[in-house]
Assembly symmetry: C2
Homo-oligomer: 403 residues x 2
Amino acid sequence: MTGTTTFPGRVTIPVERYAARIAAAQRIAADQGLAALLIGVGPDLRYLTGYAAMPLERLTMLVAPAASGARASLVVPRLEAMPARGCPAAAAGFIDLRTWEETESAHGLVADLVRDAAATRAASPGGRPPSLEVGVSDTLWASHLLRLQEVLPAGFGPASTVLRELRMVKDPEEIALLREAGAAADRVVDAIASGRLVGRTEADVAREVRERLLDEGHDTADFAIVASGPNGASPHHGASERVIGAGEPIVLDIGGPLGGYGSDTTRTIWVTGGDPSRGPDAAFLTAFAVLRRAHEAATAAVKPGATAESIDAAARDVIAAAGLGDLFIHRTGHGIGLEGHEDPYIVAGSGLRLKAGMAFSIEPGIYREGAWGMRLEDIIVCGTDGPDVLNRSALDLRVVAGV
Amino acid sequence: MTGTTTFPGRVTIPVERYAARIAAAQRIAADQGLAALLIGVGPDLRYLTGYAAMPLERLTMLVAPAASGARASLVVPRLEAMPARGCPAAAAGFIDLRTWEETESAHGLVADLVRDAAATRAASPGGRPPSLEVGVSDTLWASHLLRLQEVLPAGFGPASTVLRELRMVKDPEEIALLREAGAAADRVVDAIASGRLVGRTEADVAREVRERLLDEGHDTADFAIVASGPNGASPHHGASERVIGAGEPIVLDIGGPLGGYGSDTTRTIWVTGGDPSRGPDAAFLTAFAVLRRAHEAATAAVKPGATAESIDAAARDVIAAAGLGDLFIHRTGHGIGLEGHEDPYIVAGSGLRLKAGMAFSIEPGIYREGAWGMRLEDIIVCGTDGPDVLNRSALDLRVVAGV
């Protein structure tokens, strides 16, 4: 299900990165007093091994003992042995493969591996017996965690205490993929904004967005929010059978992974139907000018050392000063990488300090329930001395005929 | 992200079903001594409320007290209030909506709701104080479960002990959707088998499969396994850059949800490139005849009261009798519905007895590593007196020119 499609000219993650990431994760886990990391199918597994699979009821799990140099094992159902063996970390011999049969207990196998790792460590010269604490990946299914908790008497905590530190700061290749994804999404936004919109349903436009994202090289087209008129007031609206009319705004928020790394961009469009009298009214234009300034202020505030909450405040203060603070009902942004939403979150109360290489969205919005919504979203990488903006399509309110 | 696209003429789940499902889940949960069911984003939530959302770091959770008539609450981030309010169970007033702000603890809110439910029940006349045991949905993320375990001192077990019984037996509308999905996938299989294949990459064919599944009304095209030549020996191969050659087999295994309910069908194709001398050899044809008989035997064994393991054995015995038992390396099938893989699993060791209305795949395969693979898969509904086969495309080895 994972495909191994390669694109000529596309940046790939050098295989050595996986060895370095696994070693770093083992080291940090040991520092935190964990016995092992238990990484199920999902972005953490892909980050550490390059193995991308679908989460299913059959357990696939990387068991990484928290000790430098100890071998990590990828536990996989036998019928997935071939793709697992082909993943970069396994193919390069950085990890061992442990297959299980349909009638075996995969969770018991994981428990045995953890106990072996803990015992080896306790018996090693100078090795202090670690408490049996393990870290599990965030997106592991609860059904797997509950079964592990049954067969493995240990403390269970999040592996994200280890992985988030690593994954938040992107490698150069990861930034290159994010940049490529952003450029591809920009082209889709521009194509949609310059095409016919009036008289089509949101769902029909969303379908075109998805096709274009795939045509532009995206792995999958994960979302295509086409929120017209009053639907724009719902930030996570999808795309309905509502027919787009002349004289209304559309919030277009699209993206998905490309080479594993996400695009996510939002622009606000106003369709006149070709009738100049059906342009945006003064209230909308005023609010949009505020939004634009809020977006600009937050972007300009990005630099190493700035806190996540200060970036959020930079956007929020502008909107609040204009008397619209109650209409900005979500945080300013979220990290992006192998997941569409990941650390760092750009949210009030987060004292996390930005580092060069962190990638996240800046996406203030203003939502007037029953009437309209507006949002502008770019993906930003924190550079060594300021923001590196990955989306380059125009941030203006796109007033188009749409016919 | 969820869309609310409606298709004229497509069967929908009547809204009353959601009330009945929630009530049944509450009753069974109470019988099992649970205090509440905690249902995160995923198929269980969709089953109970009709609400389909993407699993994300922001908690969305149905808290259903295990007491007949007690109101269930859907806890959602404020910015998703609009789509949540629009889901069938909320729109019909069967459940309450509880929104939380970006800076609130959603997990704490869930814990409070569980405690309130337990307290109300303990205080009610004749109400025995329930032990604080809760059931969580299978696909809830571990990150959410760990946080709930922190703030709610309770025993945590799987909600699937409740939900699987309900979800396994399909309503008539669910069967109608599965049937529609199957017919759509059949048309895609037939189109692919009759088109050009030789000289194309697997990935290119997979792309066509995905487009056709969407054109046929699928919500998403979740998988398109195109496994040519030796790749066919890996049951969960995806689609690679391997170029399909003349004189080799292709395992085509495709599907995805339509109206929420999955299709999943596999056929085996042999491409000659138009050269009759490049047809299948005797060994392949012999194995395929065995496979076909195994598939037929398992299908014929389907009836209420038959055990899941007996269906598995019906297929496995035929393949083993032909001396190929070691090459059938997976279970015979899996349930299907709102998930692509769900209960009942058709696997050795499962004494589960089939009931009318259960839907599952029958998909024996034979895999010769380094050489080829073959698999045949239909979705079957257990009828009141035998199998109701949802896939109707020809089960024969499809020997085609493919040029």
